[in-house]
């Protein structure tokens, strides 16, 4: 293999591992798991409020029953007689445009359209019959309770910003124009909250470098 992989995230120097410039061992015992994940993704330490928001986001999607395809895949693989982590791997692989993966599409949708007129934007999607990523849910028809909870927390921590407002405005416009609700789902809500942190761009840059 001639190719050379680079990373802006991690570095080995002597016996020490550094993450984003911080010595790993200095982080152990001083950062929570969420804080360390934030550091890896964003390249800087979170404030206390940002860490709280991050925890809320992770906990909101830590489980959703045994019906989702990712759970089915994980258990099917484990039931073949494989180790736990191979089952988990199948579960992780399951996320895609139709399950969980809407998050990335929703981030892109918000990033690209944040400054547009929401009424016209929704009209265009409805006319072209294009699905709006982050909206609609199989079970939740009135509202996604996880979205509501995350938005309440975002407000109390001061993170409810123009992306959150945009997302809720899109939900309203869909109801107005379609006469039917497509709820802002938990993926859409997280997408709006992540946008605030500029996470889309950061991730891609580090990943391809």
């Amino acid at each position: 293999m001639e190719k050379k992989w680079r990373t802006g995230i991690t570095l080995h120097k002597g016996e020490d591992t550094y993450i984003r410039g911080y010595k790993l061992l200095d982080l152990v015992g001083n950062l929570s798991f969420s804080q360390a994940i934030y550091l890896i993704l964003k390249g800087e330490l979170p404030s206390e409020k940002e860490a709280k928001m991050m925890d809320a986001i992770f906990v909101s999607v830590i489980d959703h029953g045994i019906a989702p395809p990712s759970v089915i895949a994980a258990r099917a693989v484990a039931s073949g007689g494989n180790t736990l982590n191979v089952g988990v791997a199948a579960g992780v692989a399951t996320f895609g445009s139709a399950h969980g993966g809407a998050l990335e599409d929703a981030m892109k949708f918000m990033q690209d359209n944040i400054d547009k007129n929401v009424g016209e934007l929704v009209k265009e999607y409805i006319e072209k019959k294009k699905p709006i990523p982050g909206f609609g849910h199989k079970y939740y028809k009135e509202f996604d309770p996880r979205t509501k909870r995350l938005m309440d927390i975002a407000k109390s921590l001061g993170f409810y910003d123009k992306y959150c407002a945009f997302a809720e405005k899109v939900e309203e416009e869909i109801l107005k124009q379609k006469g039917k609700k497509l709820v802002l789902n938990v993926d859409g809500a997280i997408a709006a909250l992540h946008r605030k942190w500029g996470l889309t761009g950061g991730l891609e840059k580090d990943f391809s470098s």
Copy 2:
């Protein structure tokens, strides 16, 4: 990465790829898919009869309905909105000690016990309540029709040897001692047929080299 991976299977020289010493392009159009797989696994070209047996084995397990866990995993992953090959990957990962993977255990069982007294061997497994790999099936209680078909073909091609006889003797002994049939399943039958070709050893050797 300082590690160096070696392979006894494949070689690049100039613009040419060689498999087991044969130039890949010379094989294209001259070998069937099964013959090429045999070459990769065993390091030599199969006879016409060996190729026929190989084809029979592959076709016998090409499909078994939509109930097996490997199919469920594949479809669950695809249903998340992923590409076809990622679904297939999950299906392949599903094989394990409880599904399909019995094949490897069964090969080892036959390799280790071929020269033992079958009656005593089965008695030992029954007393210790150890499952005998390659025997028993969820649906087939009288016989596994795929086993029967493969054994018939093996006989007509001259491949029915001491491993096949051993496997069928084990099936008989289980019935005699337990008073209940545990059929020689398709994994067990393929294991017996593969042993003839010494495939267990070969695979492992190449893989770790």
Copy 3:
């Protein structure tokens, strides 16, 4: 799980498994592996020539050294101490838009553009700096030897049709317009040959049904 998965490929009736309407056990010993794969994909048995072409295609991509990312992934997973099939699964998951997966995009490209003026088509892609799927290769700059071999076999078997001609015409036009060759690679060649069999459409239909 309330969802109901359907399939047009496989059926269990009593103790028998049927594939595309054929009893599995009748196929064992009578079809080669490639013929059985063709049956599953296309829903009908191949002619002798079609089976020969299918074998040539499979053998042409059965191995390409140890450098490809799919091989690296497979060996990395196995080197962690996992079973062979979990390593293979990682290799299968590796296929994507940048490795192997060009095949599907190339099929779509040919399907959509077969009736267009090739000169104008290539001009449009070059002007918009869009990559043409199925063309270009990291190592092969003059021609992909696997493509040449497959096209020769296609001609001798009578499978060289308008899709193959179209693919070679695109290669020529790229050279003419860019002054630089982007070879019709093995993915592009297989895409052209698969188009003949209408495989794109078939696969998707069965898969989503």
Copy 4:
């Protein structure tokens, strides 16, 4: 599929998801990610100190450079042109007896041998040339700095118990008997700390139920 999957972890009732008896939405904003993971694994909420220990453990293994096979697999799969999560899945699948997966074996080793005479135990393993899971490291020959950090934190939080002492005693005995150090690695250290929480047993029980 006739099989029925049960779970002791999660429950849907009306529109609400419950984890281990707690309503998911009540946990969002009130638990950290680590606390929620602990709840899922162990079935009860952690004390503040247990949550701190859990965070230290997770952060200690959040990154270890780009050389490990799990990282290579993840990047190889992503480099094929796949989505981020499919790359992560390959990384997760890589953990096995030779990488990361020692953790489970080490937990079992400690569980089975905690009450034995350490000198005789180590002698037996050395005589039979059996590797002791959780000991030895490719790079760290004097001590694993992550182990040292975790043990210091365990002491300060009051979690240094008989399993930790046992693990360190095994490390000493190996040095005494072999005349060469095989360091208690981070997997071994985490295994000792997890034992305290009885995690082995719990996990398996829930998983198979």
